[in-house]
Symmetry: C2
Subunit: 101 residues, 2 copies
DNA sequence: CAGTTTTTTGACAATTTAAGGCAAAAATAC
DNA sequence: GTATTTTTGCCTTAAATTGTCAAAAAACTG
């Protein structure tokens, strides 16, 4: 249960890379990458996939980390977060079944 | 497990009001209200509370309906929605416990 | 069925929100 | 203490979402 940022930082360190190098490889500003790693900016899906490729990570795993960050972020400070997630789960199931009328 | 829009439409009909009247009472454009009821626009939190007051509904209930709509909407078409919600739940719990460093 | 009221739609303007980018500051390593 | 790396702040930009108005469509009413 790691945040997207933690994951990509771990991977970068593990490979002994500095931000500058990752920036060069991905064509993303190094300050921006720093912010991703510290969870101060949220990348687009395309960028998530870029990182998955760069670090040889399973795409699904990384996307789950990234999307769940977003959801959790939207609910931060919400007393009702728990209830909201349970209801959202039902709604997602319902939509998956019956489509979106 | 109703959508926010369904709820406020039900309530309006139940009271025999037309959009024009609700628009006057809330100072929201009637086209906008129509869109809320059809889930084509998402109101702000303030407006959700306005509707709670207008229709004498429990605020929490309405907010849960509204927020869960948002979450479910973000995850529509996401094959991984289920997994995402489970992870998000853990993250929310974690944040609630340890704050947001 | 014509006339009236209500609801919906569509295009556009306005707002809001979040991200990208640069340069300076801070931290870390050498 | 210098050099490198990382972080921060600010600002611009871009994207997404909403509100608004007018016209079209739909639903009532007599």
């Amino acid at each position: 249960m790691k945040a997207f940022g933690e994951i990509i930082r771990e991977q970068r360190i593990k490979r002994g890379l500095v931000l500058r190098q990752v920036a060069a490889a991905t064509d993303i500003d190094q300050a921006t990458i720093s912010k991703y790693e510290k969870c101060e900016r949220k990348p687009s899906k395309m960028q998530v996939l870029q990182f998955a490729k760069l670090y040889n990570l399973d795409q699904d795993t990384l996307i789950v980390a990234w999307l769940s960050d977003k959801v959790a972020y939207d609910l931060q400070n919400e007393r009702l977060a728990d209830k909201v997630l349970k209801v959202a789960e039902q709604k997602v199931k319902y939509i998956a079944k019956n489509g979106h009328k």
